[in-house]
């Protein structure tokens, strides 16, 4: 089954064709196809354990498909994991500057960028702190700043605020919308549908097929009310 997001073909950033992914001798995805174009903001929704995070890892190149073709033209991928995933032996500042080093940005520019990012996430005074000295919300803000430090052309968010309370999630969602530029392509996995919807143009649904591995369906609309109606229908059908 092949379902493409209805967008301009020439501008595609990620393209998956009949992908099969096998992990630990178990087929996770079979005949999975979709594509993301530059500037797309897409939510990836689905039940727990259906393979949303695995799909992000596949796109990020962490997993390699066993069959099919996966083309990813993004040269800079920003990834915000479920947990902050900050290197515990590096300070906040080092965690952010370290990801900039492979981009050959000179030290002065790195420092300038670091200061700007930490000011935006309101953590400038914590730049020399180690991750263990930060709260969960602060650590996730650093993780977000790190993802944007590389000026990503593809941003992958894997339920980044799932471990935080509602207030913090709202704050961080606002922060995320401030960081987002039109040219950034985003694939956002979240259970907080209300928070993800204002940030995206379309939704991808990863569904468990009873006989086979998960399949993707797509709903593309800019109308939030219409989309919410679709989501309600989708979730009531899947209950």
């Amino acid at each position: 089954m092949k379902i493409n997001t209805p967008i301009n073909q020439s501008n595609k950033l990620v393209c998956m064709n009949n992908i099969e992914l096998t992990l630990a001798e178990q087929i996770i995805f079979e005949n999975l196809s979709f594509q993301l174009n530059r500037g797309d903001k897409v939510a990836l929704l689905g039940d727990s354990g259906v393979g949303k995070s695995t799909l992000l890892k596949l796109i990020a190149g962490i997993h390699q498909p066993s069959k099919g073709t996966l083309t990813n033209q993004a040269s800079r991928i920003g990834y915000v994991f479920q947990e902050p995933r900050l290197l515990p032996w590096l300070t906040v500042a080092q965690n952010i500057t370290e990801v900039m080093k492979p981009l050959k940005i000179n030290k002065e520019k790195r420092e300038h960028k670091l200061t700007a990012l930490l000011t935006q996430v309101d953590l400038l005074q914590y730049k020399n702190y180690y991750p263990y000295q930060l709260s969960g919300g602060m650590a996730q803000r650093v993780s977000l700043a790190r993802a944007f430090a590389i000026e990503p052309d593809l941003l992958l968010l894997d339920e980044p605020f799932s471990a935080l309370d509602q207030n913090l999630t709202q704050q961080l969602s606002q922060l995320l919308s401030c960081f987002l530029k039109p040219e950034i392509t985003m694939l956002y996995v979240s259970h907080y549908i209300d928070q993800v919807l204002p940030l995206v143009q379309s939704c991808l649904f990863l569904q468990k097929n009873k006989q086979k591995s998960p399949k993707l369906t797509v709903h593309n609309t800019t109308n939030i009310a219409e989309r919410e109606h679709f989501l309600n229908q989708f979730y009531s059908l899947n209950k």
């Binding site: 890892k57 990834y79 032996w89 370290e98 080093k101 492979p102 180690y130």
Partner: protein
């Protein structure tokens, strides 16, 4: 956490206990068997005034440094690769078993046969006997590194040098520093043993000389020198490195 002052007092008490025990035993035993701490100290103060003492000490230290550098480089590199690539771990397993179970004296005899007496023999023995310890500890520690860090490194396109310095080394710093202390202590023992058995220079040779001449005080003076080398390496070289690598843990 215990403060530095308290730690130093405990260290001092331990050293005093050890010296007390030595003194007690020296009073009961014949001076030919066990020299007293004072006799040893006097002999040592005489020795350090001679040029030969420094020459012999330097020879042993150079051999030790060569052996440790080679053993650490080989063991760490192989352990790092084998920790990430199971094929190398299985390939090297028989070599490791062989080297870890063979009695050191056999290695000494074989090395004497192959290389004759001198530097090469001493360094070869030390490298052969120390490398498996570094290898196995590094390999096991690398296997324990959380795969999350490698995913992070992959996504953010870390260079191999960044992976080495920012992920591998800090992640295994704890077990690695313990290994380095063991290896440095064993290194001194192995180098001195090899020198006793098959060289005409170095601390081991001086020890063998003192023993055959029944110069007990000199023998214990050279033993004290070996202990000082171990203490110097652990306290002056390894502790600061360990402290630097594990500084972030102070905040946990």
């Amino acid at each position: 956490m215990m403060n530095t002052h308290k730690k130093n007092i405990i260290y001092l008490c331990s050293v005093i206990s050890l010296l007390g025990l030595w003194l007690l035993l020296a009073n009961y035993l014949n001076a030919m068997i066990l020299a007293s701490p004072l006799q040893t100290l006097m002999q040592l103060s005489t020795l350090i005034l001679t040029a030969e003492f420094w020459q012999q000490l330097l020879i042993t230290i150079i051999r030790l440094l060569y052996a440790l550098s080679l053993a650490c480089s080989i063991g760490f590199t192989l352990g790092l690769i084998a920790g990430r690539h199971a094929w190398l771990k299985f390939y090297l397993a028989p070599f490791r078993w062989l080297l870890m179970s063979i009695p050191p004296v056999i290695v000494v005899l074989l090395a004497m046969l192959w290389f004759g007496m001198g530097n090469t023999m001493v360094i070869f023995i030390a490298v052969l006997l120390l490398t498996p310890t570094i290898y196995i500890n590094t390999q096991k520690a690398v296997e324990q590194i959380d795969n999350h860090w490698f995913e992070l490194a992959k996504v953010y396109q870390f260079s191999w040098f960044q992976r080495l310095v920012k992920i591998y080394v800090p992640a295994i710093a704890g077990p690695l520093s313990a290994t380095l202390i063991i290896v440095c202590c064993n290194g001194v023992r192995i180098v001195v043993l090899a020198e006793v058995l098959g060289t005409h220079q170095g601390i081991g040779y001086e020890l063998a000389n003192a023993s055959s001449n029944f110069a007990t005080a000199e023998l214990y003076a050279w033993v004290t020198v070996s202990l000082c080398i171990v203490a110097f390496m652990e306290l002056v070289l390894l502790k600061p490195i360990q402290h630097y690598l594990l500084r972030w843990r102070e905040f946990i």
